[in-house]
Symmetry: C2
Subunit: 216 residues, 2 copies
């Protein structure tokens, strides 16, 4: 009877805590949204009490910012390997887009676009930061591949900036879907088929006839 029910033995893990907390916060923010997520739930999922959370973050807002910042560095880290040289601009484009899907869109990090989209107007400063550090940086990478292709005559003449936004949209949209309607409705269509059709469309185009260069 000496070993009766006792609190489950607190562990001291100062180093690992922040990451554990932001990871728990990310999944809950993505699932429920920022405002609807309780700090008690985040703490519980991270295996600590709410008080501990305040040892590492000043406020709920500060935690949100840490989650995004953490996600950004992870994303940049995941994207590092994509700068390798490719001779074929077409292959480079494929690699960048598919790489984004596999390293970000289709992982835990894929929740960040949904979260950031949902909360942008509540955290305009974070949104601006995200837009500059992630979206514009990612777009710049893509644009390199596109302009290279245009210069070589592999791609048609198109507006580079606009085409980058258009190209990214189906992937980001799919990633966001995976975090909202997917879990809510079940019934998700085949991802491999989606990606195949996506690349088929953007690389070859919809028209069967000879390319006219005039979409009117």
């Amino acid at each position: 009877m000496s070993d009766s029910i006792r609190p489950p033995a607190r562990r001291r893990r100062k180093e690992a805590r922040p990451q554990e907390l932001t990871a728990a916060a990310l999944s809950l923010f993505v699932e429920k949204g920022f405002a609807a997520t309780r700090l008690d739930d985040i703490a519980e999922r991270a295996g600590v009490s709410k008080g501990t959370l305040y040892l590492y973050f000043d406020s709920k807002d500060a935690l949100f910012k840490a989650v995004i910042k953490e996600g950004i560095v992870s994303a940049l880290h995941a994207g590092e390997a994509l700068f390798d040289e490719y001779d074929d601009p077409l292959e480079l484009l494929r690699t960048i887009l598919l790489g984004w899907w596999e390293r970000i869109g289709n992982t835990e990090l894929g929740g960040i676009p949904k979260l950031m989209m949902s909360e942008a107007r509540n955290f305009p400063d974070v949104a601006l930061y995200y837009q500059q550090e992630v979206l514009q940086r990612g777009t710049a990478l893509l644009r390199k591949a596109v302009t290279l292709g245009i210069e070589r005559g592999v791609f048609r003449q198109v507006d580079a900036d606009a085409i980058c936004s258009v190209l990214i949209a189906p992937l980001v949209y799919r990633a966001m879907w995976r975090q909202s309607f997917g879990p809510a409705c079940g019934q998700e269509t085949d991802t491999a088929q989606y990606l195949h059709t996506y690349f088929d469309l953007i690389l070859n185009g919809l028209l069967a006839g000879a390319p006219s260069g005039d979409a009117r």
Copy 2:
């Protein structure tokens, strides 16, 4: 002194109230999210008190459902005119997509996709309803145009369901952007250019060479 400050004369408008309230709720839900929006603020924007809100809706959840339902009927109403006959599948496709943008994506209703995406996991029943009544219905309409084009040999052979999801994504994504990063970061790229490039891409494709039909 008889006409001292007095409450601004209550008006009785039983008929119009529900619409006024759902409209106010929609804009605030889209801006702040469901949980972060206060009922007092919704009532104030609609020009009534919170008590009045409860004359027309049982709860905050019920109000949310009403907002979505209202948005859906408006959207279906806005989309009615698109069923007209077109001989050219290419023109039909353009009309459907551009029509969606102009009647929904680029209007007040454009907030609903963002709202629904944000809250899908908090209201799975509403999400399922929305998915079936809006997304699948809209996709079916698009698929008609696509399959027609394929049958006539105007479009290449592609997976109809998948291509519809891909085609819609850039428009919906843009609409959601308009409701989040747009207001948060200012600096929005030119919409006309975006749409032009979008249609250019999906209708003609990116490759300058003759269409191969093999995207690998």
